[in-house]
Amino acid sequence: MSDERDQITRSFRPGEWFGIFGEHATVLLPPSEKARVAALWEIVDDGAGFDETLDALIATGLRDLPGFVLVSETGGETKVVIRGDARAGFATQDGPVDLDGATATTWVERSLRGVTRMTVEVGEESGSSDLRLAGGLVRLSRVDQPPRADPAEEVEDAQPLVTEPVVAEPEVEEPVVEKPVAEPLGDVEDTQAVPFLGGAHLEEEPAPEAVGEEEPGYDEPPIWVPTPTPPPFGAPVNPPPVGGGTDEDHDGMTRAGDWDSSQFERQQPGIPGQPPAPSVTARPVARLVFSSGETVDVDRAVLVGRAPEARRFTSTEQPRLVTVPSPNQEISSTHLEVRPGSGADHGSAVVTDLGSTNGTVLVQPGLPPEDLQPGIAVQLIPGAVIDLGEGVTVQVTNP
């Protein structure tokens, strides 16, 4: 990186957010988006531009992406997209421009000409000195471009690159960064006459969901069955053929798309920023004892409620539905989910309130009762008691 010394173009102030600085794009992401950061780092560092980076950012939807900043400059034009709790100020040929992501429900987008100076502020500062930077991946709270005058200390060689801030959490770092971008790239040239799902956009999306697929990095023998890339289907997984007469593959209306399906992989429910949980484990991680006396082992997702239903699962990971009585309908139809945990929760069960009307109270041994936050998974300790209301409780024991 020493040849980049004279390219040091900006300074940053340490903080909580992630900053990804590539040749053509700058992306800032909140602390919760660690998994996404690693995936984005790969493409941004490889020189991804505005469109490609934005596609990757929003590939899994906006709902679980609380905030981000994307800045990209080409040919004198600076494109900026800001969402959530982030602010940016620019000095342009037409005067100063200030943007605040919190002012829009989706995002603020602006195209600026002749930008001479940029300042972006995100999250809280955890340091007061500004460090210089060429490119890389850092934790920050503020970026100035060009660098703020006289940073307190000269940083040698853009030291924060990729290494220290992120590596601390191996379970996220490994699967993400090591994963080659978008495997289906394969032999693109192996075209066939079949105009099916061809991929003009093949190279663009390192579908963030692919992250957990490999889940290396556990030292103990894994007790989960690696999500079997379900084999029963006959056709070999050919690389999507490129182009081809899409004109002919219509029946007047419905057409097969010439889109790479992996481009739109949906985010699994689970903990944002962590690899998706192994959906089905080889042996149960916990046993649930219901107040009715029923016992259910947690070796897959268990959905509990007054009339629970399961939506959008695959044939190999069918959840178990457990109906509990609720004469006054105080328990929601699909109230909560217990599933085998992943990442830091690997080997134990986690409970998630699925946005129930009247909420869920969790009592863990030695801890005060806790109201579950909807959508936030909480690790279950043996001895924990989950209270759904109307006298329905679930006790967690070892399997």
Partner: protein, 277 residues
């Protein structure tokens, strides 16, 4: 009807129409309780109708020969796998004979009764942009999520659901049977009591009439046969730009021994009488 679902009584109706624009009806459907399918074939030149017919044939075999109701998702996945193989072979055979650009594909929505420890449930499966709706208490609820470009754009927040109805690429689907890639279906599991009426339909229906119209028809037509007829007729009347197919299934009898409602009644009777009757 399979032995174990004796307590469940299903009434159904089905209708299909080529529409006003197309020459061939490439939709196929199966209504063989407890298995129901709608498939919307693609490819033209007598290939889409073959593809959708293959799906109906394979699931018809399931209905005839019975299946393991406790392994519903596996059963459906295996059957879809067989369909995929057959459609791919059919396409390959045509290409081998020189029609290089030939291909056949189809969407599929499937509903069948399965069973777990608690009793019978609806297992639903979806590949493509045909749809499954639940109609209960006068409310229409789309259960399946389209595998279509516009749905992905909606999910990504790029466009709104309203934009999707008029988007130029709204007929482009991202998963189907018959492509070179194995396409995994999405599955859904619903408790029977939550579903008074189930609707399976092709995009020739949903693309022509809106949800409010569909809900109005489903609420008005008591007989599922009338409901299916009227849905398809309304789609044709609205322009009939594509083949339109609807299968409507009503759960009319639910007499499992320990269903939730009967359990509740038993308990409340016990409380009132002080003893079981």
């Amino acid at each position: 009807m399979t032995e174990q679902f004796r307590g469940v009584e299903l009434h159904h109706g089905a209708a299909t129409d080529v529409g006003l624009v197309r020459e061939v009806n490439e939709d196929s459907f199966l209504a063989a309780p407890p298995v129901f399918v709608v498939a919307d074939g693609m490819g033209g030149h007598e290939s889409g109708d073959v593809a959708s017919a293959i799906v109906v044939e394979e699931f018809g075999r399931l209905a005839d020969e019975g299946y393991d109701a406790r392994r519903g998702a596996e059963v459906v996945a295996a059957t879809l796998g067989t369909c995929q193989e057959r459609i791919a072979e059919f396409g390959a055979a045509h290409r081998a004979r020189g029609t290089r650009s030939f291909y056949a594909g189809t969407t599929a929505v499937v509903a069948l009764l399965v069973e777990d420890d608690e009793g019978p449930k609806w297992l639903l499966a979806n590949l493509g942009d045909s749809r499954i709706y639940r109609f209960a208490d006068g409310v229409l609820d789309q259960v399946s999520v389209d595998h279509s470009l516009v749905q992905e754009l909606v999910d990504a927040g790029t466009i709104t659901a309203a934009d999707a109805a008029t988007h130029p690429e709204r007929h482009v689907i991202t998963r189907a049977l018959g492509g070179p890639d194995r396409a995994e279906a999405d599955y859904f599991l619903l408790p029977l009591p939550s579903v008074e009426r189930l609707l399976l339909c092709s995009d020739g229906v949903t693309g022509m009439i809106d949800d409010a119209t569909m809900a109005e028809i489903l609420g008005r037509a008591a007989d599922p046969r009338d409901a299916a007829d009227q849905l398809v007729a309304a789609a044709v009347q609205a322009g009939g730009r594509d083949n339109a197919t609807a299968v409507v299934v009503d759960v009319v009898g639910l007499a499992t021994e320990n269903s939730y409602d009967s359990e509740r009644q038993r308990v409340s009777l016990e409380q009132k009488l002080g003893a079981l009757p």
